[in-house]
Subunit: 131 residues, 4 copies
């Protein structure tokens, strides 16, 4: 139920404090979700092609240490099965695979189908694939 990705901090992701801007972690977490889904047998691209969307309805991040340009980052993504319409992912950003934790966070999602409303059937099917 978890997957890990690795990549380097881009120069553009830093700000004048010399560290990665706090908004960037949400982008990294999204990359984590993309790979979590791929490792669980389907891609978010296919998901959207089916007309299913998984927009973020809530996010939270705790920032513990700073990341710097060219640092090697790992993002661990964990899917938390929940009842009801919600999909929950949790994330741990680290410096390298075993290094200090940079940030922890979560996102909560719902599954919309083509009419842009929460879709019970799509939710059920998607949860069945993800579990």
């Amino acid at each position: 139920m978890k997957s890990t990705i690795n990549f380097r901090v881009r120069y553009q992701e830093t700000d004048k404090m010399g560290i990665v801007h706090h908004s960037v972690y949400l982008i990294w977490f999204e990359m984590g979700r993309t790979e979590w889904l791929r490792q669980h047998g389907f891609t978010y691209r296919e998901c959207e092609e089916k007309g299913w969307l998984l927009p973020v309805v809530e996010s939270g991040v705790k920032y513990l240490n700073s990341a710097r340009y060219d640092d090697l980052i790992s993002i661990e993504t964990i899917y938390i099965p929940e009842k009801g319409a919600d999909f929950r992912f949790e994330y741990i950003a680290r410096l390298e695979n075993e290094g200090p934790i940079l940030a922890t966070g979560f996102t909560r999602h719902v599954c919309l189908a083509n009419n842009n409303r929460i879709d019970k059937e799509a939710t059920k099917q998607l949860k069945a694939i993800m579990n």
Copy 2:
């Protein structure tokens, strides 16, 4: 204790879902803080020139409605006085000044001085200015 800014959604802020990417709200909230501080008699730029930094140590956002390209956005920023080392800001993003709420959120900060550690004296002085 609150201030409001207005601006239009940039094309680059949208994603393939056709709406503003969820990470962008943290950037908008930061713009809100910048103007809150300016309206309360000093700028964050001066703050940094003094060697004080106010990094984000926690963020949270609830996404209620979608914003689209060229929409007129308002961000209301509220400073919440707290005990101890923490600075807390809360935000309401709306479509136009009276329109539906797009998102609500908060950020929590601490005040670092030049040695990059939480600085009690700087915290005290800054809180005195902000209250």
Copy 3:
């Protein structure tokens, strides 16, 4: 044939060099185009709703001076009528309205209609509106 917009540099737009990242100017130029079109009687949003797209097919920027956090920026956008399928815009980014030039640049566009191909009729109609 020209229009000007003003705004402040966002913290997130800076990088660890302490200045605005060079990629940001393309985002600012796009904001300039948005307002140029609005001031000439229609919006790019309406344009897209008609099924017309104006993707960038070429961009060029010369960076002359650095912009910093909270600087007041002006972007002057000039539409350059050209023969054929091309639409050309030129831009001047300045510190404040009369300050030093930060960057100059251009973008070249074509007009696609719904089939995502260059559309002669849409090009002609759009050029007629813009001239």
Copy 4:
């Protein structure tokens, strides 16, 4: 004199047209430079730690095909030795390693030393390392 990097398009890099925003290529090219330098024996991080900066003084991009979310991208970076103060890099962005060209571009740089002025000695030393 060339190096190649591979990565996937992030969701956040797309815009409402459903394709990668044109400003993102400059960020990808910068990643290409970072790896080019690493493969040639030093890192841009070390470069900055020495007090040398290589800001972009000019950029140009031609956009030929669209990149989409989750596409596998390759960026080929070529360093072009030049006389005088200039450093020039050229880039080819492709869909996968052998796929269609998405964009081509260049950036031109100068080498500043600590006083933020073009530094002849640093330029000479850096060019000697890079050639």
